[in-house]
């Protein structure tokens, strides 16, 4: 079912301001791992949907990396036809409750909304979440179940159960292919499980969205490292798969490369967040994995992962959490909403600071030496490059340092697959549709583009699924 019509053309859109998202009190929420944003009530969702102009030529849809028919799903909310609204989203996006929470809508659909010109776009992301959550609140039998294609007789292996792999798997089922997703960890979800914290994306939401994919017939095999347990060639030969999609992410954490980085108390954001999210170290000793709970924590970086790490450290009981970034807040790649939430929770922003050395005593971190920076000429990224202020060294008193500088390509799969063409930096070379140098092998997400967003990875997974479908049928 895919209604393309919007709401009645005779309706008069509401001119009320954008409906705020209900959120928990900053002081209370910084004590635990329960979700910060509470989601719209039905009343709030209706009020917000009512602001939508239902444009004759909607521009928002072009702003969505997976081209959800936004006008239509908002139209269904206006009419109170929620189940239909869910179906509209699910036509294009298998994980609405996830994307409604973590997509950077302000740069995508909402940036393209006609009302954005006046600074108050329709809160598309919050409405998507509203529908996604309504769907998840239903019993499994009642939930929106996207139609699965007639059995094609083909089998496709998907490497990695993060956003790219899940989107690809769901799409492949729609084309009627049998799909097995291989996950190296013990739980599926990739970054949705190990990276994004519970207070921003509850793991029960991730599990429920994945559950629907399994209902659609996707098989998930955890504890399988492709490149170790099986090679790509084994998947394509003895394991009987006709094609493979690689969506294993850009796994290896980057470090600063400064003295003292291997002192106890220095974490990569990946390790810190994996311990807390996937391994649930915040429940230690009820869960078995420990994490070092610092009193004074310095987080290095300015992206969403840095915000997640800082806010997680606060929730683990840190008295002070500093966010150390070498440019200014304006250049931070993190979402405004995340920056705002972090500030509200008492994270201290130390802008224009560049770490030079981590110092310690008896093997443990006691501080971080940094220099002050100032902004110089714009660099190749268009951002003004930070320049060191001579003689401005100072020491930040801290017992924990979390490095959130991004990731690089994990070489494990590539090493075991010599005929897979890589870029100079180890990412997989793939065309627009995800086709790699190896016949029948497609790739998408961070392992092709380097660190990006959940929704861009999902878009790449979906495009690759279409290309895989064409490739399989052409070969027939």
């Amino acid at each position: 079912m895919s209604p393309v019509e919007g709401a009645s053309p005779r309706r008069k859109p509401s001119r009320a301001p954008r409906t705020p998202m209900p959120e928990r009190d900053p002081v209370a929420r910084a004590q635990d791992f329960s979700e910060v944003s509470l989601g719209y009530s039905e009343e709030q969702a209706r009020a917000e949907a009512d602001r939508c102009l239902q444009c004759a030529k909607p521009t928002c849809i072009d702003g969505c990396p997976v081209n959800i028919d936004i006008k239509s799903f908002i139209g269904r909310i206006i009419e109170g036809e929620y189940a239909q609204g869910v179906a509209v989203i699910k036509e294009r996006n298998a994980l609405p409750a996830v994307c409604g929470r973590v997509c950077p809508q302000e740069e995508q659909c909402e940036a393209s909304c006609v009302l954005a010109r006046k600074g108050e776009p329709v809160a598309i992301g919050r409405l998507e979440r509203f529908l996604g959550d309504l769907d998840l609140a239903c019993d499994l039998e009642e939930r929106c179940r996207p139609a699965v294609g007639e059995d094609s007789g083909f089998r496709v292996a998907v490497v990695g159960s993060g956003p790219a792999g899940l989107a690809c798997a769901g799409e492949l089922r729609r084309y009627g292919h049998a799909v097995t997703v291989f996950e190296s960890l013990h739980a599926p979800g990739g970054v949705l499980s190990y990276g994004i914290p519970e207070f921003r994306l509850p793991k029960s939401i991730v599990a429920s969205e994945i559950e629907m994919l399994t209902v659609m017939g996707v098989t998930i095999q955890t504890d399988a490292v492709i490149g170790a347990t099986y090679t790509l060639d084994e998947l394509l030969t003895e394991q009987g798969f006709d094609a493979v999609f690689i969506g294993n992410g850009a796994g290896l954490p980057l470090f600063l490369g400064i003295p003292g980085e291997n002192l106890n108390g220095v974490y990569s954001a990946n390790e810190f967040l994996t311990r807390v999210n996937l391994m649930r170290a915040y429940e230690f000793p009820r869960a078995d994995t420990p994490v070092w709970r610092g009193r004074k924590v310095a987080v290095v970086g300015g992206g969403n992962v840095a915000m997640d790490a800082a806010r997680t450290a606060k929730r683990l009981g840190a008295e002070e959490v500093f966010l150390v970034y070498r440019r200014t807040e304006a250049e931070m790649p993190a979402r405004r909403e995340e920056v705002h939430h972090a500030r509200e929770e008492g994270i201290e922003f130390m802008m224009l600071c560049s770490p030079q050395e981590i110092v310690g005593h008896d093997g443990w971190v006691t501080g971080m030496v940094a220099t002050r920076m100032e902004l110089g000429e714009p660099d190749e990224s268009g951002r003004r490059a930070p320049v060191c202020v001579v003689g401005s060294e100072f020491t930040i008193d801290c017992d924990t340092v979390i490095v959130a500088l991004g990731t690089r390509a994990n070489p494990l799969l590539a090493k075991a697959t010599p005929d897979l063409e890589l870029t100079r930096r180890g990412y997989i070379v793939a065309d627009e549709d995800g086709a790699t140098s190896k016949p029948g092998v497609f790739a998408g997400g961070d392992i092709v583009t380097g660190s990006a967003t959940v929704i861009l990875a999902m878009g790449a997974g979906k495009r690759a699924a279409r290309a895989i479908d064409r490739w399989l049928r052409d070969r027939e």
Binding site: K203, L213, I220, A224, V225, Y230, R280, P285, G363
Partner: protein, 302 residues
């Protein structure tokens, strides 16, 4: 490897400990080697098919459990099982020690890490200290099978803690030297004494040490004097074991390496052992707390 309902995989809690799971890894063998040391065999055909000497796997006992790395002590590709040896030191190994053949593990993932270089070696000394003998066994076996002249030095605090002696004796070794701190078996002293003798006599071209970090440090120091290469198999703390977290970083020759994907074998002469030992102690207090809680709950009152 296992497949199953995503929600049950993600929702697992320590309370529903392995209940109703059909996709676990059955324990097919268990043997107590000394008071706190156990050998265990697990059915894991996909892992067994690929295992090579020196590689490791990640294990999780049950939902809510830690992921810990363990090195293979043996495997059978044909029969589909892997074996490992562990010492009861914290909650996870304590829990593991209570399981028997017929029980099952939640997760076994691998094989991981770069296999030990065992081909085309001449005269080699393989040192296995304590539980490190478990790692040394398949390495010595692979080296001997590919034609190397292998001398194994097996060391432990006392005779009770010498493990796999019979298995080593069954290998075509040049010599097996047993050493104990108290002289209750073999020579009295440390493994470095026979290692030094072999170096002095010019009887080895290379060496490999597996065991506690402090032992590997001294093996490296001993061989360095004689310019005899010394490969060490490091055992840093890991979380995922596939390169994702960086918990296992070690400094080798002034450069940071990841134990899981770059190792576990490194040039012992270039490893910063002080840093490794310090990093191994990060969670000592928390681990004690966790094991104390567990000991209260379980019946063994250790």
């Amino acid at each position: 490897m296992r497949s199953g309902n995503a929600a049950s995989i993600l929702f697992g809690t320590p309370e529903n400990f392995s209940e109703g799971r059909l996709d676990m890894f059955p324990i097919v063998h268990k043997r107590q080697l000394s008071e706190a040391v156990f050998e265990m065999g697990v059915e894991a055909p996909a892992v067994a098919r690929k295992a090579k000497a020196g590689q490791f796997f990640m294990l999780r006992v049950a939902e809510g459990g830690e992921r810990i790395p363990l090195t293979f002590s043996d495997w059978s590709a044909e029969e589909g099982w892997i074996r490992f040896i562990f010492m009861r030191v914290g909650k996870t190994t304590h829990q593991l020690s209570h399981l028997e053949a017929g029980d099952a593990l939640a997760d076994v993932v691998g094989p991981l890490g770069v296999p030990t270089h065992t081909e085309g070696l001449g005269r080699v000394a393989v040192v296995g200290g304590g539980v490190g003998a478990a790692v040394a066994y398949p390495v010595a076996r692979a080296m001997a099978e590919s034609g190397a002249q292998v001398t194994v030095i097996l060391g432990a605090r006392n005779a009770d803690l010498i493990i796999l002696e019979d298995e080593f004796r069954a290998l075509p070794l040049r010599e097996l030297i047993v050493v104990t701190d108290d002289g209750s078996a073999g020579e009295k002293g440390l493994v470095t004494a026979p290692l030094k003798r072999l170096c002095e006599a010019g009887e080895i071209d290379a060496s490999m040490a597996m065991g506690p970090a402090i032992m590997m440090k001294f093996c490296a120091a001993t061989t360095r004097e004689f310019d005899v290469p010394c490969t060490v198999s490091l055992n840093p703390i890991m979380v995922d074991g596939t390169g994702m977290c960086g918990a296992c970083r070690v400094t080798v020759g002034g450069e940071t390496k990841f134990g899981c994907v770059d190792g576990p074998d490194f040039d012992g002469h270039a490893v910063d052992f002080e840093e490794l030992m310090s990093r191994q102690r990060v969670y000592t207090d928390l681990e004690r707390e966790s094991d104390a809680e567990y000991s209260k709950e379980c019946s063994c009152h250790l």
